[in-house]
Assembly symmetry: C2
Homo-oligomer: 302 residues x 2
């Protein structure tokens, strides 16, 4: 079953302690769509400028992504530049130019409105609301968010949480949104805000899934060679909803495996800049690393 994914599409310039790459394909919708495309048909909603390189449109098309919802607006594509510190954990934004993204008004083509799975990538909550206003009773809605919206658009975000099935955010954002330092208490507090599921991403420590009467601790993956952490969270969420769409239903058991598949795809993505690694990823790579996740978290012989 298909997934509608809305989010940003950007041209990223990323500096790490080792190298710098400019004007690469980035943005939450790009990462999430490509990640999801390994599991289910994807319908993208986003905006780019007239300067958006054809090779990037081709990259998305090659992954079978439906681009009927991709607007091309007069002007420049959203640009972001950032630098990672020596530990690859701390990131500083060097510059942001919203460009055509500033006036982005997500409009869903007719054939998008009945998609059973919807992912609201990391954009302003008011835009996430607008997408929900255009879909007809989807089976499952996943929302991603970030510190910026928790700070600047909390009322919109709180209303959104009552309209979605699952919220995905990282540990510091979960603490910020709930005011709880314990992640366990934060996870339970998120459920009280509306969604049936809360997913807390913990970077090198794995991820946690909260649901009523259920808790899942997803394993950490021993990744030694990180080249570019950009987009890891978007890939995680994209693969997660892609997996759920493939399964056709969002049971707690499906969500557990979806989260591990999210970790698998995210772990590949950080091995190279932009979407370079996912561009040449094969389904067999995913199967193999998923089997590794099983092995590295197994302690009880059945």
């Amino acid at each position: 079953m298909s997934v509608v994914i809305v989010g940003s599409i950007a041209l990223d310039t990323v500096q790490t302690p080792v190298e710098t790459h400019a004007d690469m394909l980035g943005g939450s919708a790009s990462y999430a769509s490509v990640a999801a495309s390994f599991f289910a048909p994807v319908k993208l909603v986003g905006v780019v400028g007239t300067d958006f390189p054809k090779k990037f449109t081709q990259l998305l098309r090659k992954r079978g992504i439906d681009l009927a919802g991709l607007q091309v607006a007069e002007g420049k594509t959203f640009r972001w530049a950032g630098v990672y510190e020596w530990d690859y954990n701390t990131r500083r934004t060097l510059s942001v130019a919203l460009n055509v993204f500033e006036k982005f008004n997500p409009t869903l083509p007719a054939n998008y409105a009945t998609a059973p799975f919807v992912m609201l990538g990391n954009i302003h909550p008011s835009l996430q609301h607008r997408v929900l206003d255009q879909v007809r009773r989807p089976k499952f809605i996943l929302a991603d968010t970030m510190d910026l919206w928790i700070e600047t658009a909390r009322p919109d975000l709180m209303k959104l949480l009552k309209r979605v099935d699952a919220l995905c955010l990282n540990d510091s954002e979960a603490r910020q949104l709930t005011g709880q330092t314990s992640l366990i208490k934060a996870g339970r507090a998120l459920l009280r805000m509306g969604p049936k599921f809360a997913v807390i991403k913990k970077g090198e420590h794995g991820a946690l899934l909260f649901s009523n009467g259920g808790f899942f601790s997803a394993p950490a993956y021993p990744l030694e060679d990180i080249h570019d952490p950009t987009g890891a969270g978007d890939c995680f969420a994209g693969a997660l909803i892609g997996y759920v769409a493939r399964a056709g239903r969002a049971t707690p058991a499906v969500l557990r495996r979806a989260i591990v598949h999210g970790s698998v795809v995210a772990s590949f993505n950080v091995e190279s800049f932009s979407l370079n690694r996912l561009e040449r990823l094969r389904p067999a790579d995913i199967t193999r690393r998923y089997a590794e996740f099983i092995r590295l978290s197994k302690f009880h012989a059945p």
Copy 2:
């Protein structure tokens, strides 16, 4: 098979945001011995002063712990006082009085020397060396350590790492000892320092096990009610070696289950002050929570 456990025995005064309790049983050997006693016969090595309350000796004896190696020295028992911040994560030491512990010279009774399992609890590495000088070819030696010894006794500690099978320490200590910020790189670096196994405790994020050609990510446990985190690490290590001793061998598979049992016992310990919770813990409680750990980390239907 039996375990020799050496470490400190203290009278602790602990302040939390909610309550304060004075002169409770504490110290690495107390916590570790009681935790290990649920799995295997324990032989304790430590020192107390003549002021050491009989009720605490009785508590240890009731758990079947062999106290032939418990020295009673003229003077006062080691005392420690500390306070936890509102998040129960940050701890400040308010006062330390080493008292009889200052001149502690661990001496093993004759029947201790052939114990097949040895745990070197968190004490000065030179004392840990002295214990190893008195044992005859144990099957498995586990050492615990802390930031203080990494800072002040690094050469002794580095030599110790060549004499032990496993090192157990928390995430910040692993980073401090190896100079690596990535825990994965830190774990691999620890193995290069000597031990066959390295166990990194991550508090609410679970634990990691490193061995040659193997990696295990132990799940986080959703503990909401923490009353006193003191001794959690010692309980973890004590239950770990107790479980290995009960299994009779330290294979990677046994160590994985040992780590989860360590997490189980530690999770009980923090539910109450001092050893109050472990004092009334029953084997069935451990079995039940171990089953919970299986459930909360399971994602792949076999």
